[in-house]
């Protein structure tokens, strides 16, 4: 139908300014996560130091860093999976597996440590691979698939250990686990290395770009020529692998393999990721925010211990605080997403046919 305006058909579309002149730096939040997260962390540190006077002691800070290690490592893996709009509930069981298998194989002998680590890491990779393959082959939601594999792994761990403490670490493990360089625990460097590597991969590699694309829209990614299934598999494999690494790191400070040692890491890691501003719907957020989220959760755990809050009460308080923080994070993230949803709404309003 004719519209009110006549077409002025110039052969050459106007170019106002060259793109080079307009190019600015890419947003720093890719690396750091949202600014409000770090303000929240600062606030929590201030409150923590008011509640518990020895919170800021160097010994306690070393302790906080040490507690941060396994959660941090597994949360980095969880971030990759949540970025592609998935989730991995099997990380807790994988950590228990890593812990008990490592202790069982080592059995107090330092010479067994390399083999044990290789076996455990391979098992982590395998768990991730199985998760990824089932998810892409069946299109069953990741939540259900990983809940299932989590149950299988937990069962195998119980069968293997007969639900009792199991195996024994070698001295070299505890040396590493409790050792530190100045105030910084040795294994904290492992966490820093993993987080930094993940940040660089996320922001600089083609795979990182594909993570956001698959999470933002599988359809878009596929039609752009991204090998979607491969990206998904790699994300789950990385998550399984990092969960095994986290289990190994955690074991370094333990006296035996405990079949339930991984309990809680599933929800804590998801909470850390979401707290860090990564959307559960995928495509938005990243490892930078997760680092902040991990710090917040670790400090909460620590300060409640210092304040002598009973462990049951701790669970309740942590649940409430994480829930509130997550709600805030989600509402902030959602506001950023509204603008884009508006486009989809306008597309639908245009009566477009949606196929495929």
């Amino acid at each position: 139908m004719p519209r009110v305006v006549e077409v002025v058909a110039s052969g050459q579309p106007p170019v106002d300014v060259a793109p080079q002149a307009l190019r600015s730096r890419r947003p720093i939040t890719r690396w750091t996560g949202p600014a409000w997260l770090w303000l929240l962390l600062l606030l929590i540190v201030v409150v923590a130091s008011l509640i518990a006077e020895n919170f800021l002691s160097s010994r306690n800070l070393t302790n906080v860093l040490r507690q941060m290690i396994p959660l941090g490592i597994v949360a980095v893996g969880q971030t990759l999976v949540i970025l592609i709009a998935g989730v991995d509930l099997a990380v807790a069981a994988t950590i228990s597996m890593a812990n008990t298998a490592l202790m069982g194989i080592v059995a107090g002998e330092a010479s067994n440590v390399p083999l044990a680590i290789v076996v455990v890491l391979a098992a982590g990779l395998l768990i991730g691979l199985v998760n990824g393959l089932i998810i892409i082959a069946t299109r069953v939601p990741a939540l259900i698939v990983t809940l299932g594999t989590a149950s299988i792994i937990t069962g195998i761990v119980f069968l293997y250990t007969d639900q009792t403490n199991f195996g024994k670490p070698a001295d070299v493990m505890t040396d590493v686990g409790f050792g530190s360089v100045g105030p910084i625990p040795i294994l904290f460097f492992l966490y820093v290395f993993i987080a930094a590597a993940a940040l660089i991969v996320q922001n600089r590699s083609a795979f990182g770009l594909h993570l956001f694309a698959v999470g933002g829209s599988e359809q878009v990614a596929r039609s752009s020529g991204v090998r979607v299934a491969r990206v998904q598999i790699i994300a789950y494999v990385a998550c399984g692998f990092l969960a095994a690494v986290a289990g190994i790191a955690m074991s370094m400070r333990m006296g035996a393999g405990e079949p339930l040692s991984g309990v809680g890491f599933d929800w804590d890691s998801i909470a850390a990721v979401v707290l860090g501003g990564t959307a559960l719907t995928g495509g938005r957020g990243g490892v930078g925010g997760t680092i902040g989220g991990v710090a917040i959760i670790s400090i909460l755990n620590n300060v409640m211990n210092l304040a002598g809050v009973s462990s049951f009460t701790q669970i309740v308080i942590k649940g409430v605080i994480v829930l509130i923080a997550v709600l805030l994070a989600v509402s902030v993230t959602r506001r950023a997403a509204v603008d884009f949803r508006d486009l989809t709404a306008r597309f639908r309003a245009s009566g477009g046919e949606v196929t495929g």
């Binding site: 139908m1 006549e6 309003a349 245009s350 495929g356």
Partner: protein, 529 residues
């Protein structure tokens, strides 16, 4: 086709070759024939429009050409050689680029990242920033986009995103670019920009396939048109050989003349229902006065931003600061917010009805009953029988095509969804309906049903204020037409007592809306207000 044209075309295809030729392409989805034996030829340096109603098979055709779907039968030739695309990637490798109707950019990634997504140049797995930037610097100027390439796409306007999508398609050195409804969510000014880009592409020798249901676009841009109806080609011709009427007829299977219901031509007295006096909204409208009478359609034309929607919103109290008086039934209105307007029987159906007007996942029945759930309830429980009766009344009187009143609204066609919105307000007992672009994005067949409904409403006494950018719609439906430009009423035209042949034409309206002319013409009052 004349003999001369035939030889011209043959010479051209010998010189340049048809880029893509499809023969006897068929495709079924779950036993439904989406395409049946479709033939078409797409040439380089040519804009080829593919038109058809929703569901005619346009998008399926695009997806087959793009390698998203494989055809069940038929052959595709690229430069004379038979090809089959197993994936979008293979089509891309063959220099076929697609701009899908669905948004196809990743919101969080930057413009340049989106441009190279899936085809990044990498060094040891890392994205080579310099080559990524080079791509952006090359293709963004081609679409005339002045955009910072390092902005996340989510920060761009819809029009800018559209340009980026085209730039992305161009980034593969496309020789054929498929545009699936590229203008469906753009404003008029943005559409003009896009048209210039499309013509420029043609000038560069790129073959353009333009999927659209906008006839105007076909005739202002295309060199060739192919019409699909129910998955079959009903017309394929050089644009100079056909008229818009031919194309519409091929699309809907009947003549344009039947698109619009006959207008009741009479000069009887109509009671004024709503009167607006000296309405001013800072920055939007100044000194607007008009009267809306029962049993009439009052059309509002003007460019986007002329203040039409603002005036409508002011009437229902949805605008904050305003001056002037609104009279309802001769008394000064106490409308402060939309709820007051609804209580007075005045309803606004907004432009973005699917986002603002309907709950897509609820049934037809619930959507119709929505504004009066309290009235439909007894002891706090919904009286389902009463709600059902109310819905059935509207389904019958508006002839809403739905299997039952419990069908989910999202399963209805665009035209029927629009009728559900209308039915809701009629069920509520509205005497004044304000319709903002009621046929936007609705296909031709559904449009004519909406026109019939609007006419029927007016004939039954409803006062209709019709805001539309589609001139034939305004001209054929309206009893009176108000032309607005830059927040002012520049002309009021009376069609009541005027027969079709004496009506003002589209050109008159365009000139008025652009502020080019305020002169004489058939059936035109002096500018009021």
């Amino acid at each position: 086709m004349s003999l001369r044209r035939y030889f011209e075309r043959r010479a051209r295809s010998e010189r340049e070759g048809s880029l893509i030729k499809i023969e006897q392409i068929s495709k079924q989805f779950d036993g439904v024939h989406a395409l049946t034996s479709v033939d078409a030829e797409f040439n380089v340096g040519e804009i080829h429009a593919v038109v058809g109603e929703n569901g005619a098979g346009k998008s399926t055709l695009v997806k087959i050409l793009a390698g998203v779907h494989g055809p069940d039968a038929g052959r595709i030739y690229l430069n004379g050689e038979e090809v089959s695309f197993g994936s979008p990637r293979e089509a891309m490798d063959a220099s076929i680029a697609v701009v899908y109707q669905e948004p196809s950019l990743v919101p969080m990634l930057t413009v340049e990242e989106n441009l190279v997504l899936g085809r990044e140049t990498t060094k040891l797995g890392f994205v080579a920033t310099d080559s990524m930037q080079a791509v952006a610097d090359r293709v963004l100027p081609m679409v005339g986009a002045s955009i910072d390439p390092s902005t996340p796409v989510e920060k761009l306007s819809i029009a800018q995103r559209q340009l980026v999508e085209i730039a992305k398609a161009l980034s593969i050195e496309a020789r054929m670019i498929l545009l699936d409804e590229p203008t469906s969510s753009l404003s008029i000014a943005e559409i003009d920009r896009l048209r210039a880009v499309i013509l420029d592409l043609k000038g560069r020798g790129v073959g353009v396939v333009l999927i659209t249901h906008n006839i105007d676009e076909v005739f202002s841009l295309a060199d060739r048109v192919t019409v699909l109806k129910d998955g079959q080609v009903t017309l394929s011709a050089e644009i100079s050989e056909v008229t818009p009427a031919d194309v519409i007829k091929a699309m809907i299977g009947r003549d344009l003349a039947h698109m619009f219901p006959p207008r009741t031509v009479d000069d009887r007295e109509r009671r004024t229902v709503v009167e607006v006096r000296n309405l001013s909204i800072p920055g939007r409208a100044s000194n607007v006065s008009f009267a809306l009478r029962e049993s009439e359609v009052l059309g509002f034309v003007g460019l986007i931003g002329a203040g039409r929607t603002d005036v409508a919103k002011a009437v229902i109290g949805a605008t904050g600061r305003r001056q002037g008086v609104v009279f309802v039934d001769g008394e000064e209105s106490r409308i402060r917010e939309p709820a007051d307007a609804i209580a007075e029987g005045i309803a606004l159906v907004p432009e973005d009805r699917l986002a603002d007007g309907l709950v897509m996942d609820l049934s037809v029945r619930h959507n119709i009953g929505l504004p009066q759930l309290a009235a439909l309830s007894r002891f706090g429980l919904l009286d389902r029988a009463e709600e059902s009766r109310l819905a059935n009344e509207q389904i019958d009187s508006l002839s809403i095509k739905t299997p039952s009143n419990s069908t989910t609204v999202s399963n209805l066609s665009g035209g029927n969804q629009q009728k559900v919105v209308l039915g809701r307000w009629l069920a509520k007992g509205c005497r004044v309906l304000i319709l903002d672009e009621p046929t936007r994005g609705v296909d031709v067949g559904a449009k004519s049903e909406i026109y019939k409904t609007i006419r029927q409403l007016a004939d039954n006494g409803t006062a209709v204020m019709l805001i539309s950018s589609e001139l034939p719609e305004i001209l054929h439906l309206s009893d009176r037409i108000i032309v607005m430009s830059k927040g002012r009423i520049v002309a009021t035209l009376d069609n009541h007592a005027v027969s079709e042949s004496d009506m003002a034409g589209e050109e008159d309206l365009i000139k008025l809306a652009l502020g080019l002319q305020s002169g004489s013409g058939a059936g035109r009052d002096a500018p009021s207000g």
